[in-house]
Each structure stands twice: as C-alpha cells, then as structure tokens.
C-alpha cells in the first residue's frame, strides 16, 4: 500500500529525514516511536504533503502512485489522512460545515453525489453514534477554543467521516487522560479493517495495548534505526532510547 524508500527531506536546506524506509500493507498497524526531535512529525507531514518540506531524495509510492508529485489535497482524496499533532483552529467555520465540505470534496473526486446538509447531518449522527461521542463539538468553530483533548478527539472524528485508506496518527494519545486514550483507541479500533492501514506515532506504549501494532519502528536522527514488534515498544518503555543509540552505532560501526 505504502512504500517509502530511502526518503530524504528537509526545510530550507536543512535535512531532517535522512533515508527513511518503510513498507505498509493493507490492514497493518505500524507504530513509530523515537525521541523528541527525531523527525516523526516531519515524516508524517511529508507523507501528507506539507509544502514546507522538500523531498530531496528517495521515493514514496501509495497504491502504485508517486506521492511526491501529488499535492496534499490529492493525497487526501487518494485516501491518506493525517491526524495532526497540533491541529489548527479555523475561526468562523463550524466543525459540521468543515466536515461536510471535506467529505464532499472527496466524494466529488470519486464521482459520487455531494451530500446536502440534511444527508450529511444524518451521516454525522451515525458516525458519532458509532464511536459513542456526543455532538457537543460539531457546531463549534473548528478547534477554536477546544481543549487539547477535544482537538485530538476531533481529529478522530474527521478520520471517522473521511474513512481514509491510510491513517497517520501523530501523537493522538499525547496529552490525553487515561480514559480519553482508551476512548480514542476504541474509536480507532472500530475503524480498523482489512484494507485500512494505520501509522501511529507515539511516545507511549499504553495506547499500543489497545491496538496491538504489527510492527514497531524507532526513528532516531531522521532514520529508522530499529524495527520489531510490540516487544520492542515494551523494551523502549522500560529502558528509554539511550541503548538504541548504542546499538545503532554498533551496527553502523
């Protein structure tokens, strides 16, 4: 589904990603862990098509298409979704209106009929019911004055409405209390399917207990320095990242 090969990327001549490799197959859940500043968000944003990051080497293909050549909106319509680490607030636009516009942009692209306000309200109600959330956020301006936790939940709601093929969650669990982590994880679980894949960027193994990843990768210094399974996540939780630097150095040396 997603094939990342030797990806190099950075901003204004500063290289942040220094050769990332990653292969994601439909139905898989990949966790990406790694110390602060190691390039996790950059990787996520590059996959989503943030124009500030220039791809200077390597390749990224999604279902056979060359992602690097596509704008962010084309990628989204192709089925890529990024839950932002820091979602921005959009004043004056309600969540409902925003979601309706986004869904219709995707539907239009797929040759489907656009949903009117009533039809969309019905759909939204179903989605909320499905993830067991109320409608308190949907008539407020997008993320405007939302608490940290509300913003994260809002990202998941967008995921639920847009039903992407590949969802990238950038620290969706950070800043959430334990119940909220469970809730978010449960919502994500509901959307797991054979043909949908997840890349979950996180600092904590706790969320991984709720949707056990197929693969765990450690990103350090702009590279995937180690890959494994859930055991690796537990090891990191216990030992931190220092030992990895040693291992990676040992491998390199």
């Amino acid at each position: 589904m997603l094939e990342v090969k030797n990806l190099h990327s950075g901003v204004e001549g500063v290289e942040i990603l220094k050769g990332v490799d990653l292969t994601v197959k439909p139905g898989e859940v990949h966790a990406i862990m790694g110390p602060n500043g190691s390039g996790k968000s950059t990787f996520a944003q590059v996959l989503a098509g943030h124009p500030a990051y220039e791809v200077t080497g390597g390749s990224v293909t999604f279902e056979g298409k060359d992602l690097v050549e596509m704008d962010a909106d084309e990628r989204a319509r192709a089925g890529i979704f990024l839950a932002f680490q820091y979602p921005v607030a959009i004043r004056g636009i309600t969540n409902a209106y925003f979601l309706q516009s986004a869904l219709n942009a995707v539907r239009k692209d797929q040759g489907l009929e656009e949903l009117d306000t009533l039809d969309f309200a019905e759909l939204l109600e179903k989605k909320l019911e499905m993830i067991g959330w109320d409608d308190s956020l949907i008539h407020r301006a997008v993320n405007d004055g939302f608490s940290g936790g509300e913003k994260k939940r809002n990202e998941i709601l967008q995921l639920a409405v847009l039903e992407p093929k590949l969802a990238i969650l950038d620290e969706t669990d950070s800043g959430l209390d334990i119940d909220a982590v469970k809730e978010v994880a449960a919502a994500v679980n509901r959307f797991r399917s054979e043909d949908r894949a997840f890349i979950v960027v996180t600092h904590y193994e706790r969320i991984l207990n709720y949707f056990t990843p197929d693969h765990v990768h450690v990103l350090a210094g702009g590279k995937v320095v180690m890959s494994g399974d859930m055991k690796l996540a537990l090891e990191l939780e216990a030992k931190g990242y220092d030992w990895i630097a040693g291992e990676a150095a040992a491998v390199a040396g």
Binding site: A48, G49, H50, P51, A52, D71, A72, D73, R75, A76, R77, F81, L82, F84, P87, V88, I90, R91, G92, I93, F98, S101, A102, L103, A105, V106, D109, A141, Q158, L162
Partner: protein, 444 residues
C-alpha cells in the same frame, strides 16, 4: 483663480448650494432647524472638507469627493423595475414595516407603514418634523455633533429628509423596522443626498432595525448619511447596517448611538460597496450598566477603499463594550480601522474588548489598523488585538490535507472571516441575503 478639485472652491460651491437650498424647498422647516442648518454651514465653511493632515483622516483622502461637482438629487420617477428591486431587498412579506427612500427622498408608495404596533412610528424625518415636532427637536443633531466631523456639519446643513423611527417605552417589536435607502445613479448626473436618520427607543423598549444603502445600478453619486440612535434606560436595540453602494460611488457616514443606564445596543455593520467609503461609528455609554456591541465586516475588491473610524466612549461606570471587526481585502482594495476607546474619569469597572482582523487576499491589498486607548479611570479592563496578513499556510495545509483543493480551502477560510460576523445576525432572511453577498465575494 480656482480649479476644480481645489478644496477652497469646493467649500465655496457647497456654501452656494446651501444658499439656494435654504432659499428654496427647505424653507418650510421649523425655525430651530433653520438655525441649526445655518450654523452647520458656517462651520463647514470654516473647516472645509476633511484633509489628510487631520489625524482622524490620515489614511482617507476625500479629495475625489470634494473635486466632483455633486448636486442635490431631485426625486426620480419610481419605475416598475425600482419597485421590484425594492421589494426584493426588503425582508418579510406583506406584514413588513419598511420606509423606503430613493436618492434621499422618501417614497411612500414603496414603503410599508401599515400595521405598526401601537405607538410605534416609522417613516420619513421630513414628516416627523411636523408630526413629532417635540421629539425630533429634542434629539436631532444632539448626538452626532457637527464639530466632530465636517461631513456631519454638511449633513446638518442639508437636513431635509431621512429615516425616523420611534419605539415607545416598554414596547418590544416582533418584526424589524427597515430603512432602505436606494440609489438610482441613472437619474441625473453626479447626484448627492444627505439622508439624516433619527431612531429613538424609549425606556425598556426593544427591537431590531435594518438600515440598508443599496445601489440599483452603477454610477457616480455621493451618499453622506448621518444616523443618530438614542436608547432610553434598559432599552435593548439591535441594528443591522448594510452598505452596498455602487463601486463607482462615494459613501460617507456617521452612525452615532447614545445609551442610557442599563441599555443594550448592538450594531452589526456590513461594508461591501462604494469606491470610497468612510464611516464614523461613535457609541456613547452614558448610563451605568450599559452594554454596547459593535460588529463589522468589510469585504472589498478592485480599488475599493473603506475607513471605519470607531469611538467607544465610556462615560459612566460599570459599562461593557465589545467590538469585533473583520476585513477581507482583495486586489488593490484597502481597509482602515481605527478603534478609539475613551474611558472618562469616574467610569470605573469599564470592561471593553476590541478585535480587528484583516485578511489580505492579494499582495497589493492593504489594511491599516490602529487602536487608540484614552483611559482616564484606574479600575478598568480594556483589551485590544489586531491581526493582518494573508491566508495562513498552516491553515491551508490543514484543509487541503482533508481533501479540499487549494482554491476550496482559500474560499472556506475567507468565508470563515465573513461567517464570524454573520453569526451575529439574528434575522434569518437578512442573514441569508448577507451570506449570499459574502459568498459572491469569494475569489480565486
């Protein structure tokens, strides 16, 4: 020797125009009004048109207005097309309350004045000078003061007609009172009008008003409007003001409100039209516990210029004021916003918040925003903030990452600027109309 466009000769022209105006049709006015007009034109003769050396007019040059040879408009014929246009503009059906003006003249056949609630008055100022002589004399020209703005003085000099509305004590309106000022530029060349409006709300009165300035076609003309709104104790009034003049026209205006104790005033102000517009909004909170909200949206394009010069004057303690102005400027359009807040000595516990956001949709669009706080009391809370700039790249990316094209994302973000102010409109039909105008302005 004098040249066209020379301010001096322009002033002289207006003094001459006043003399023939005072000598002709305006002669039926009561003595007190004649006196006021006389002193207003003398004042204008002294000051002439405002010029950019005056602090309050630094960013707005009215030379184009002074240079044009405007003449007081005659009353045009009311064609079927005008009748239709008026009907399309007005809110509500047969049961509406509306006074309609054409090129400054009251047009009874376009107005709907039947069925007003007991004691409520709506109509033309000219008629009210007779029918409600005492009330008009008590209030007219008392709040919007000639010495504060030469164009207000000019308005006073040429007072002949405009809107009049009165809501008696304890009467709360169900339907809005509408004042519609239509401009028909096709009738006559370079016409001008100085519509003067007085709105009086009694103690405990409530309701909403819609004051619109709408062009029926494109052409050069000048509207110089002054509106005074007086709120009695505990009155609660919402006013919606919509300026949709021709993009070749000039619009200058003063909107002046005066509030007594415990009253609540809200103005939601929309500026879409005119090549050059300048609106002074002065709100005086002169009774304890008064609350005032000024919301505004400007959406301009081409070479349009607008200047909103607002003053909130807290004259008594425990008053609150909220000001929220958004501007969206495309092409080479320019917006100026001044937010003056005056807290008079003794006006303790004032709570005032001012926000001015400007979105620049093109590299050549421009906005100037200046807060001016003059605080003479110590126990007050005054905050202000202004933003200005193009659409934020991070916002664009966020929307694009959800599947919206760059263009759709830009439109949605721009619409958000308008929508924030539209939210303040509590009349559904008006909100729909304005929503349509905002959407029309979304460009590529």
């Amino acid at each position: 020797m004098t040249r066209a466009g020379d301010p001096k000769s322009a002033t002289e022209r207006y003094v001459a125009a006043f003399e023939s105006f005072a000598g002709n049709g305006a002669s039926g006015a009561p003595g007190w009004l004649k006196t006021k007009r006389e002193s207003a034109i003398s004042r204008f003769a002294e000051t002439g048109f405002p010029h950019s050396r005056l602090e309050a007019w630094r960013f707005t040059d009215v030379k184009p207005i002074a240079g044009e040879h405007f003449v007081l408009a005659a009353k045009p014929e009311v064609s079927a097309a005008i009748r239709q246009a008026a009907d399309a503009q007005l809110l509500g059906g047969a049961e509406r309350h509306a006074a309609v003006f054409l090129n400054g003249h009251f047009v009874p056949e376009l107005s709907s004045l039947e069925g007003l609630p007991q004691g409520v008055k709506l109509g033309s100022l000219r008629a009210a000078l007779e029918s409600d002589a005492k009330l008009v004399e008590e209030h007219l020209t008392r709040y919007a003061r000639d010495e504060r703005n030469p164009l207000t003085a000019l308005s006073t000099a040429f007072i002949s007609d405009g809107g009049f509305a009165y809501i008696p004590d304890d009467v709360v309106l169900e339907r809005p009172l509408q004042l519609l000022f239509l401009a028909d530029p096709a009738s006559g060349s370079n016409p001008m009008w100085h519509p003067r409006t007085l709105i009086v709300a009694g103690r405990g009165a409530g309701g909403s008003l819609v004051e619109s300035y709408v062009a029926l076609g494109d052409g050069t003309y000048w509207t110089n409007a002054v509106t005074e709104v007086v709120l009695g104790e505990h009155a609660k009034i919402d006013t919606y003001r919509v300026q949709r003049e021709s993009v070749q026209a000039y619009h200058t205006a003063t909107t002046e409100s005066y509030q007594a104790r415990g009253s609540v005033f809200k103005l939601v102000n929309f500026t879409f039209g005119a090549e050059l517009s300048r609106q002074d909004i002065n709100a005086v909170l002169d009774g304890e516990g008064a609350d005032c909200t000024l919301d505004g949206l400007s959406m301009l394009e081409g070479r349009q210029h607008t200047d909103h010069h607002t003053t909130l004057e807290h004259a008594q303690p425990h008053c609150t004021s909220w000001e929220y102005f958004n501007g969206v400027f495309d092409d080479r359009a320019r917006g100026v916003f001044t937010g003056r807040i005056i807290v008079r000595p003794g006006a303790q516990q004032t709570d005032s918040k001012q926000t001015n956001n400007n979105l620049l949709l093109s590299e050549r669009a421009r906005a100037d925003s200046q807060p001016q706080l003059e605080i003479y009391a110590d126990d007050v809370k005054c905050t202000h903030g202004a933003t200005l700039g193009p659409i934020d790249d991070e916002h664009l990316f966020y929307l694009q990452s959800r599947g919206l094209s760059r263009q759709e994302a830009r439109h949605l973000l721009t619409y958000g600027f308008g929508s924030e102010i539209l939210e303040a409109v509590k009349l559904d039909r008006l909100k729909e109309q304005l929503d349509g105008m905002v959407r029309d302005r979304l460009s590529g």
